[in-house]
Symmetry: C2
Subunit: 190 residues, 2 copies
Amino acid sequence: MELLKETILERGQIYPNNLLKVDSFINHQIDPMLMAEIGKEFKQYFGDREVTKVLTIEASGIAPAMTTAFEFQVPMVFAKKTLPSTLMKDKVYSADVFSFTKNVTSKVVVAETLLNKGDKVLIVDDFLANGEAVLGLKKLIEDAGGEVVGVGILIEKSFQPGRQKLEDNGLDVYSLARIKSIADGKVTFK
Amino acid sequence: MELLKETILERGQIYPNNLLKVDSFINHQIDPMLMAEIGKEFKQYFGDREVTKVLTIEASGIAPAMTTAFEFQVPMVFAKKTLPSTLMKDKVYSADVFSFTKNVTSKVVVAETLLNKGDKVLIVDDFLANGEAVLGLKKLIEDAGGEVVGVGILIEKSFQPGRQKLEDNGLDVYSLARIKSIADGKVTFK
């Protein structure tokens, strides 16, 4: 998606250790016009499939997952990273997600009432690096008796093993911007 | 806003201690069509004011803040509740927010680059109870040299002191659904 690639080049920031930061349009400040276009792009790619729900993880996934769900005219669910007090009384599906960046394992949960047998779920997330988050969401969906119909990613770090792992798990991954390398403060797309 | 009130009556759940749960369309699962209408409603109410940015708090505020920002064609910023690792190197505006529900004080932060002198900010949040969250956001905006042009709330618990506190601070509060009471499992609007 050219618009996203251009925005990354114009507004992304490269931090020490070649860390790409997109806080000015995806992760902290959000560009709602870009998000609307992203929703349309995912609808165009996945539009031939039956989708009953869009699933993401709080917080950065919420915006693009919502515009995508709007295009499909279906509900969006965001998995929570902790157990807030209001969820404690509910039964939840849960999965452990290991973060290589932070070197910690955290739990993602979805209330059992919100994922159902027969659900055909499109997963949307902002970054794909090692694929652990998406595999965690896949587990939640399958624990509920649903199935993953596709995975929509905004920014794929193609130099990391996430895509391969997801494909090995039978998932169809569509990434709007695939980054081949980040070096010397410069992003190169595939 | 009739659509929101009807949705609360149809899909809201009353838990013990008269706790209203809206996890099936606002707080965990999100109804993107409802959110689009909410954005239009806030645009209609606040549309005569200059708005340069919409500000909310993660995670439940993101969806309605984004549709509102889309209507105004301005960026949306969400304050973060903790300091994620990628923010650590940045300077932030911060405010303490006391939660009466959880009886804890937490910190909300926004990177200094994302709030600026002269910004005219519309605050959007899902619930208004004691007003502490909105007052925290107001502090961030004013620390940056900006001003609050209005406060858009989805669900106001009018039996709690939030609105009064915000009005005492000179804020114009527009709530889409004002709840007068929750008793015996029943919601009554003002």
